[in-house]
């Protein structure tokens, strides 16, 4: 019974989203409430699993079905479960969707039913990504996710939406197909563990001891996909355009959910520890470039979403820095920071969405002095921004601090310079964030169009409050969140450190 709760949670949104396509096309408030109810129900199920989760155990809520999915000669099956790495992100994803549905309640005007359907389909894919324990199953969720994303961007996006949607789709498809070759290859290699049977079972493959040369190839076949999705310099070129053209719903979910960095820990580090240790310096250097480059470009942007897009690149650099420093602090910091960055940048994107709905403009120059007409909005923006730049007492500080500490004393990097350079990135984030706040909210009301902007309404305020509560909660009491991933992290770090000594010998 317990086991099928996870599968039920995963497929609930999609299955119950299908009826939305047959709802009344004009009177849409019913479909909105219906979708909200579904997503809240899913969240309730996810929370019940989070509460039952025992951090001292390994994989829980495991559910196996469809044995020998692709025929008898291959061991590919449907297997899902949650462990310390995924449980928090899983529950967090389930929280995101009701917030997004509520936050974009009025911003979508055309084809509301389909919009909600694709959002719920996206939820199923994302919950699947965080719980799949078979590489093939993971790949299916990972790529199926492109379909709702593609339609969300392409139908409800900005003026140049078709181009952005296609660019996103083709970019992601290409890199994932490269990963598919990697999955096939590791599956064939995994046959030695499995009585000669091709296997993509993650837990079995964890025992696989691959020679370094093969690990190195596989590492990159997987990493290119995840680094492009994250995105890390130099694979970041799709992101600003896609974020600028996407509807608020797609951007917020995109920012909130750190599927790629999660996958880096789960697959790259988990399956190829030796190669991960070997390439850690390279990835960390790319991370540092991302942190500083993203911050510098963000400073020069004139549109709000582009500022945040480049700031995301910068923040993502911290995550990969944290993962590839290979200390417990840094990796736990990275996992927590995945949620943190989602909260802060997600709230910022949400607020920008509210602004866009009122003013139909993304350009910083069109705003100014908004604090006078929307004090509530300004306050929330301020909190999100301070969380984003890592003010102590808010959540961003905890994650960044842990990552930098971990990177500083990392035995694998053996060099404190990276941490110092990363710290410069924290300072730079203040440099581009504060001027943005200043340009939007401070000063005089220069434009007449801005005089009649209304403040956040109750619905928007409620969404923002949920974000703020979590931002402050994690900032003040991070330990319950950190505990969830403690054991999983410790065992993975140990594995990497053992393997790294193999390479250096």
């Amino acid at each position: 019974m317990e086991s099928s709760l996870l599968s039920l949670t995963i497929f609930f949104p999609f299955l119950f989203g299908i009826p939305l396509l047959f709802f009344h096309r004009e009177k849409t408030s019913l479909s909105k409430f219906y979708a909200l109810a579904i997503s809240l129900l899913v969240f309730a199920m996810a929370v019940s699993m989070l509460l039952k989760f025992d951090p001292s155990q390994g994989v829980q809520f495991q559910h196996v079905a469809l044995e020998a999915w692709l025929g008898e000669e291959t061991d590919v099956k449907y297997i899902v479960g949650l462990d310390g790495f995924s449980v928090l992100l899983f529950a967090f994803s389930a929280l995101v969707f009701p917030l997004v549905i509520l936050g974009t309640w009025t911003s979508v005007q055309k084809n509301v039913n389909e919009h909600l359907f694709f959002l719920l389909m996206l939820e199923t894919c994302i919950l699947g990504i965080f719980s799949a324990l078979d590489l093939f199953l993971y790949y299916i969720f990972w790529e199926a996710m492109l379909i709702p994303m593609y339609f969300l961007i392409g139908i409800w996006g900005g003026a140049n939406r078709a181009f952005a949607a296609t660019k996103f789709f083709v970019y992601m498809l290409t890199v994932s197909l490269i990963m598919l070759v990697g999955i096939i290859y590791i599956g064939i290699r995994g046959a030695v563990l499995n009585g000669g049977l091709f296997t993509t079972d993650y837990q079995k493959l964890l025992m696989l001891d691959l020679p370094f040369s093969i690990q190195a190839i596989l590492f990159w076949l997987f990493a290119i996909s995840f680094l492009a999705k994250a995105p890390l310099f130099p694979f970041h070129t799709w992101l600003p355009e896609v974020y600028a053209e996407s509807p608020a719903s797609a951007v917020v979910t995109g920012v909130l959910l750190k599927m790629a960095t999660y996958a880096l820990i789960r697959f790259n580090v988990g399956l190829f520890p030796q190669a991960s240790a070997y390439f850690s310096t390279l990835i960390v250097v790319l991370s540092i470039i991302s942190i500083i480059y993203g911050a510098a470009i963000a400073f020069a942007q004139t549109e709000m979403r582009r500022v945040l897009a480049y700031s995301s690149i910068s923040h993502l650099g911290f995550l990969t820095l944290g993962i590839f420093a290979f200390t417990e602090e840094a990796m736990q910091g990275a996992i927590l920071q995945m949620v943190n960055h989602g909260l802060s940048t997600g709230l910022l994107f949400m607020l920008i969405g509210f602004l866009y709905e009122r003013r139909q403009s993304d350009r910083l120059a069109d705003y100014g002095g908004l604090k006078k007409v929307m004090p509530l909005g300004a306050m929330f923006f301020m909190i999100a921004m301070l969380s984003s730049v890592g003010l102590p007492g808010l959540n961003g500080f905890i994650g960044e601090f842990l990552i930098l500490i971990g990177a500083f004393k990392s035995p694998i990097l053996q060099n404190g310079t990276y941490a110092v350079l990363g710290a410069i990135g924290v300072i730079l984030s203040v440099v581009y964030m504060l001027p943005m706040f200043q340009k939007i909210f401070l000063g005089e009301l220069t434009s007449d169009a801005n005089r009649h902007i209304s403040d956040l309404n109750v619905r928007e305020g409620a969404v923002a409050i949920v974000f703020v509560i979590l931002i402050v909660w994690i900032g003040i009491a991070p330990s319950p969140f950190l505990q969830l991933s403690e054991k999983s992290t410790a065992s993975m770090i140990e594995k990497v450190q053992q393997n790294s000594s193999l390479t250096s010998k």
């Binding site: 692709l70 000669e73 093939f136 083709v170 197909l177 490269i178």
Partner: protein
Amino acid sequence: MALHDLFLALPIVFATLWAVLLLIFEATAKRAKLTFSLTTIGFLALLAMTLIMNEQGYAFGEMLRISPYAQFANFIFVLSGLLVVTLSQSYLVKENIHFGEYYIIVFIATLGMMLMACAANMVVLFIGLEIMSIALYVLAGVMRKDLRANEAAMKYFLLGAFSSGFFLYGISLIYGATGEMTLFKIGIYLQENGATPLFWVGLSLVMVGFFFKISAVPFHQWTPDVYEGSPTPSTALMSTASKAAAFTALITVVLNVSSQTDNNANWKFALSTVAVLTMVVGNIAALSQENLKRMLAFSSIAHAGYMLVGVVAANDAGYAAVLYYALVYSLMNIGAFGVVGLLEQHRAFTNASDYAGLFKEKPLLAGVMALFMLSLTGVPPFAGFVGKYKLFAAAVESGLSWLAVVGVLASAVSAYYYLRVVIFMFMREPQTETHFDGIALSSTLVWIAFFVFMLGIFPTGMLRFSGEAIKFALNL
């Protein structure tokens, strides 16, 4: 044992008799609608036979070889024929070419394909190939008064006849080299005596004949013109079932000469070159096509390339993957051509840009078409993905990872042109208000879409069938 022979070959015997009866009926009654119903009944009966019959063995003195392998292939052909016939009627009425003969010819083409899959003898193989091809030439030119259709039929006929010549010459050389016509005896002879240059020339010529039928590069030039000029439902048949038939026969031939081709570097090199060229040229040429029928023509070239990857892999997994892919490819391509045929009006409205705003006017039709496009791209959770996965997995398994990489990159390119259709349907405003009126989504298309989806999520059963079938491709 003549009676047993008849029983073994029951589907083929039945199909032949039914085709003759249909011809007589149509000649006397001239009722196209009734012929349509009778053809459908014939297809349904055949479908039932392929599903129920489980017999195996040689029939008619080692001329036919009935096995689960042939049954699986026949299932693909009959299903395709059935779907094409049901999708044809509204199109033929719309284009004023509603002749009863059309359905009979589709039926006869299917008979030819079944003969190809069951052939145990090179001559029978050739007869099957010709029955299928000649029927398809007629189908291409069924719009007699249309210039483009005449061009298509003429081109198809001349080049097809030319390639048949190659094929036949190849058979005669193989006979000269081995002294055998029966496939398994050729195999035995080769195992005992090895291959002579004469045999290699013969085999190459036979392969050229196959390459022409599956439109592999560089024997593909006829494809876009013929596909564009032919009536859309018959294009659907040409691009799917006839390719599937050529692939099943190709696999039978290759398996029987495998003592020479396995571990033969030249053979591997030649075949993988053709596969790579086919995937790359097909996908790149499709990028710039405005007309959807031409676009699907080039994409069908690319799909033949993917299936060739399975043949190059030359293991059971690879051949089984080709069978599975032939099935899902037939489904999704017939679906795509079905939508194109539905929207086509006297050769107009076949461009991607004519589909602008379809989602707004006919959301379900647009959704079904999008599903076919995504499945052809190879995006999970649709059947096209599982098929491609099996093909590329077989290539990696037999040490051809580079070929798999070329394949996945080529299919990434294909995303661009398939998605263009989706862009127009979903992301552009309708240009004219009226031209989608009166178009009703047929239930056949919904069923195809449903199967494409279900075969993507629950492929297990069908994969097992194809895997079982392939075990009988060589040994009974």
